[in-house]
Point group: C2
Chain length 219, copies 2
């Protein structure tokens, strides 16, 4: 799957061939088809992995949590071909026919869930509709990712993602919530370190009881 | 060029072949190469056309003018393959190497010019940096276009573009300016009708003096 992600990331879905993926993975055709029946199935696997990477520690403020998701994704996309391949597959021009929009509807949905929680606990300005705002935030994030990739090869991705939320949140958040948010560009580094520490604690406690730490990662 | 735009729009730059474009245009190889020496030159022509479509009548409020540009582009992109091909070419994954980011830097620049004017005449909140906001607005517009294309084949493009500005302008505009903006989803229809009327007036006055009307279209 990692070999497939690297090939999709470099060449795109249409141009990628099973032969490229076999060469990259160093496996035989038989071994590949034992796990995946087609190129489309491999790409679907890459898209599923992308969604699995969306977890961050839960926050009292759901707008903070949503910002953290955006920053952690930006942080990881700079480092993992699986995620950048997922983005390329989701937003490719033929993806609507092949994958029903890739992971786009799922991203809007998880964003909407957090915004609905934020609304329920009074974080949003009265006129804000979670479904509308979720569409715009997901689409805007995708555009920021594409521009950063096109203009700097993602070197400024986290800086731009933070800037995007800084330009959008004042339109949707109550001032009291806004004043307490951490929207710094290095937030991704810190949250990723926090997740690693939680996972390490999970590993050490594994033989005793892993439920409390697992539950502390909201997905 | 229109044939090339249609082929790039449907197949993407990599997959498009000169043979496809010749078949679509109904011309011979010799006739094509008389005007364009390569596929890259054809694509560059499509990108240049996209930039030429950015003109709207000037407005007292430069934030209104910027909104109008976004809406007119959304309106035309639903109808003209030249524009959607331009978007596809600009945002394709290999475009950085081939076209230096396509028309992306130029779009950020024209957006920044309008925001700098808006700032000079007091339309922006004090903390807003035109260059930063221009990057985010251009990238966000591109993401909205991609999401609308992926999810609905651009059926909801103008609605989503309006929603994007509605979610972003309150973070950057002074309340007094904001209250007077027309950010309705049918704004594109109305501005395009206005442009047509101006062009018609231009045609009628052509033999007399066309300067005043030409100047009334800010690019």
């Amino acid at each position: 799957m990692e070999a497939a992600a690297a090939v999709f990331d470099e060449r795109g879905y249409e141009a990628a061939t099973i032969a490229d993926i076999l060469a990259r993975a160093g496996v035989t055709k038989g071994a590949l088809y034992f796990h995946f029946s087609s190129k489309q199935e491999l790409a679907q696997g890459v898209l599923d992995e992308q969604m699995a990477e969306g977890g961050v520690p839960p926050r009292e403020s759901k707008l903070q949590e949503l910002f953290d998701v955006g920053m952690v994704l930006g942080h990881r996309m700079r480092r993992h071909p699986m995620l950048s391949a997922g983005a390329r597959l989701s937003l490719g021009p033929d993806m609507r026919e092949i994958f029903g929009g890739g992971s786009v509807p799922a991203w809007i949905e998880v964003t909407e869930q957090r915004l609905a929680q934020a609304k329920a606990q009074g974080e949003l300005l009265p006129h804000v509709e979670p479904a509308e705002a979720a569409w715009i935030i997901s689409a805007g994030w995708a555009g920021v990712q594409l521009y950063s990739q096109t203009l700097t090869g993602r070197a400024d991705l986290e800086y731009r993602v933070a800037s995007f939320y800084q330009h959008l949140y004042p339109s949707i958040a109550t001032p009291a919530v806004l004043a307490r948010l951490d929207m710094a560009a290095d937030r991704g580094d810190r949250v990723v370190a926090e997740i690693r520490a939680l996972e390490l604690a999970l590993g050490e406690e594994e033989e005793a009881d892993q439920a409390p730490v697992r539950e502390s990662l909201a997905s």
